[in-house]
Amino acid sequence: TTTTTMTGFEWPWQYSFPPFFTLQPNADVRRTQLDAWCALVVSWGRNNNVSQIDVTEASSLPVFKNPSISRSLPADSIMVVLEELAKRGNLEWMDKTKRRGYLFWRSPAEWGQQIYTWAQATSHINSVCTLYEISQGDDTINQ
């Protein structure tokens, strides 16, 4: 079953699956679980325009809890998810203390790929563009 929020965001099926909120001890299962979590955090972040995550406030973020099944991800598991996001390039810590991080819906590498693909399509390779041109220009309306 899927549930939707006011913004039309669709929660994935895992969100309603109680074990999703317990970090699995089995390594293989955990990898799959973390994949799902990372995807969820990124898509939820994009949907709700969340660009920064503060570790101390993270437990109260809606993404990490589901009241309808009375489950929430414990703080240390949240940390594991954030670390995983950082590893995949979706989160960048602001400082060594790892208390706040920038959330990237696309990792810089992914952005790079996107821009390159767009540049190829619009034959902008080897020319200089401003950010304005890239994001608001006529060629990018659909992107």
Binding site: P18, F21, T22, N26, Q33
Partner: protein, 385 residues
């Protein structure tokens, strides 16, 4: 030193020699005298000192001895006895020293033996032997002062005291024997320890009967037997036979229980079946450990958490996991706790828990930890996208 007087070695009437000791030097107070390396004779009346080259002796009446003290010897000096003396009577015959400022003398024991001499000397002094008349002691009529009183209250008191002393002596004598026994026992204990160590090293060569017998001896002595303490290192024929016996007795019950039975239950059942000659838990465990080696139809399986079960050999673990997953699939919404599984399938709680953990290890089940407890779900992470 002026209490000594010259005399000959003959004894007066009623005087009896108690003991003699050699190598005695006389001291006037703390000063050494020239009277060295003599033979000291103790009688019930006095002390006699004589050097072997001389014919005459020095005598000291015991009545003059007020107190005797011991002076332990050191590296440089011999042990000594210190005798505090009273003033000599005027009637005393001439001695080597006319007058001395010291009222004590010392006897130096070059060859030792001063402690036992002290005891005898003290006894002689206490007895006041010189006061007793040479004839038979008078038990009735006149009792001149100083004589040992055998009748009356004092006599009774003395008798009681004598009896007490005798009892004390008996007791210490009895404990002397005990001391000897303890000494012997110590030897025995160390001997048996060394034997049991040898057995431990050569565990293959010693026959089972001897070992069992020896172990029973050690047990009666109260010695921890190092042989049985090793974790199934000492598989004896005894355990092999035991393994066969357990398998024979419990194969059917284990099958009925679903092919798996907790080791604790096995222990209870086998002892129930035996009635007499019960087995220790350790023996049951050792026996189950060797089951696999012997290729019996039952064997011991240890879970990661340490729980041990006896199961049918060739029990397909995969099938067990499958069965568990099937139960989980029926409860996709709420999950299954160990208690639920135990109740549904009629198995012990511990076993149910192990089954769930086993399924989790095989990535067929996932856990849900919450304030409601630990529950398990089928692994939808893998089965669903």
């Amino acid at each position: 030193m002026d209490r000594w007087y010259w005399c000959n070695s003959s004894l007066t009437s009623g005087e009896v020699v108690s003991t003699t000791v050699n190598g005695i030097r006389l001291y006037d107070g703390d000063k050494k005298t020239g009277y060295d390396d003599g033979r000291l004779t103790l009688t019930n009346h006095r002390l006699l000192w004589r050097h072997e080259t001389q014919s005459s002796s020095l005598g000291l009446h015991l009545s003059l001895v007020v107190l005797v003290e011991e002076e332990a010897g050191s590296f440089t000096s011999s042990p000594k006895l210190l005798l505090h003396l009273a003033q000599p009577p005027h009637s005393q015959p001439a001695g080597p020293v006319a007058a001395s400022s010291n009222s004590f003398i010392k006897l130096s024991f070059k060859h030792g033996g001063y402690s036992s001499f002290h005891q005898v000397l003290q006894k002689a002094i206490d007895n006041h032997g010189w006061e007793k008349a040479p004839s038979l002691p008078c038990n009735y009529g006149k009792q001149p002062g100083g004589k040992a009183i055998h009748t009356g209250i004092l006599g009774i008191e003395r008798a009681i005291q004598a009896k007490q002393e005798e009892t004390n002596q008996n007791i210490s004598h009895a404990f002397e024997d005990l001391k000897n026994l303890m000494g012997l026992a110590k030897d025995m204990v160390s001997l048996s320890k060394s034997i049991s160590n040898k057995i431990k090293e050569r565990s293959g060569d010693v026959s089972a009967d001897d070992t069992t017998q020896f172990r029973s001896y050690l047990l009666s002595l109260g010695i921890d037997d190092p042989v049985t303490r090793e974790a199934f290192g000492s598989e004896t024929q005894y355990h092999h036979n035991l393994a066969k016996e357990i398998t024979q007795a419990l194969e059917d019950p284990v099958k009925e229980a679903g092919g798996v039975m907790l080791l604790s239950e096995v222990y209870c059942r086998i002892n129930r079946a035996r009635g007499l000659q019960l087995l220790s838990p350790e023996d049951v465990m050792h026996a189950c450990h060797v089951m696999k080696k012997l290729g019996l139809s039952l064997n011991l399986h240890t879970f990661e958490s340490g729980v041990q079960v006896v199961q049918i050999t060739g029990l397909d673990q995969e099938k067990v996991v499958e069965a568990t997953v099937e139960v989980l699939n029926c409860h996709e919404v709420d999950g299954v706790s160990a208690g639920d599984l135990a109740r549904d399938c009629g198995m012990p709680l511990l076993l149910a828990q192990e089954r769930l953990l086993q399924a989790e290890q095989c990535a067929k089940a996932v856990r849900d930890e919450s304030s409601e407890g630990l529950r398990f779900f089928p692994n939808l992470f893998f089965s669903r996208s």
